[in-house]
Amino acid sequence: MNTSDLPEHIRLSHGGGGQETQTLIREVFYRSFGNDILLQAEDSALFHLNNSAHIAMTTDSYTVSPRFFPGGNIGKIAVCGTCNDLAMVGAKPCYLSCGFIIEEGFAIAELRQIATSMASELSTNGCQLVTGDTKVVPRGGVDGIYINTTAVGECCFTPPPSSSSLKPGQVLLVSGNIGSHGAVIFCHREGIDVDSGMQSDCRSLWPVVHALLPFQREIVAMRDATRGGIAAVLHEWADQSETGIQIEASSVPVQNEVQGFCEMMGFEPWHLANEGTFVLAVEAQAAQAVLDILRKHRSSAAIIGQVIAEHPQRVILQTPWGTRSFMEPPTGELLPRIC
């Protein structure tokens, strides 16, 4: 058993969505739980149940701090995030479960606000919360409130989009400006004033995915670019499909304030988390039509690059002056730089 890649103790970066998370999943969870469905490693698991057509299931826990931020709160994100993972395999979110872990002393008014946001976001998705659980832990046992949501839904895309089937020539799009969620959260944590109007992109994606249904055959893969940002998605896709990916750096849509934040901290916008922005791989002939639909929902949607045969498993950034470099994969915890 080669476990040399794992240290003795869990680190924050094991939850960062990057390489270390992958190692933990592979070395601990796949070893115990490996099965064909789990090993697909898509945003949602796909299976049949009691003579059904394809059903999708996904889970996520939400520990976001601060709990309320410009553009959303932990409740909104807990519904969007999980429903979005269903949408990314072309499934309509139908039923949601919800597990609250709440710290003794938490304000019930705040809990109400969170529940209200969840309800409103559920209705955007046409999804029902059907089962739940509430645990209260003593002070210090949890940081305020953590929420787990798990959703099941009906697959509407045939075949379901899959991140391991990218082919050279396919076009990559992003559904809007990237990085704002990560920037907003980091700013709030570090006490950076964002009166500037930066807002988390937190939103439900089923409506736009539903609008994309006519192109279900041309859409090869979709992935919401959460932890690790679009860099994580692009690296995973390149890796799984054993193709290269080339991105035009100047086509990647980034809001001014987010770019400013990145320069201040020494970050790249493609490493910042999103909560309602997804990357698509699309057959070239449908790229413009898909872009048009995306733009009806968010005008900043853009074509950002393409799948290439060269540099398999690598993500290449092309500068406007014709030079190229690798896009760095995400490395876990975001740390502000001095150099």
Binding site: N256, G260, E263, M264, C339
Partner: protein, 83 residues
């Protein structure tokens, strides 16, 4: 690169702190290291929460002008090539 970012001063408080704006993101920084007086509207170079220099707008405009000229001459050249 001893990461330092050009930013604009929005306001200055009585404790020698400034609120600065970096492409729309505002935050509080210290003016403790500024060797010369600054005022709202000035551009400074920001390093780990400190303004370390005032950016000479004159010099910056000078370089912009230079590059503008390069661009203009290039455009002129292109127009000559493909009329």
């Amino acid at each position: 690169m001893c990461l330092s970012i050009p930013s604009r001063i929005v306001s200055i408080d009585e404790l020698n702190n400034a609120c600065i704006d970096t492409m729309g993101v505002q935050r509080k920084i210290s003016l403790d290291l500024m060797p010369e007086p600054v005022q709202p509207g000035d551009y400074i170079l920001l390093h780990v929460g400190f303004a370390i220099a005032k950016i000479s707008e004159e010099e910056a405009l000078e370089s912009i002008k230079t590059y503008r000229e390069i661009l203009d001459s290039m455009e002129a050249a292109e127009q000559q090539e493909s009329p």
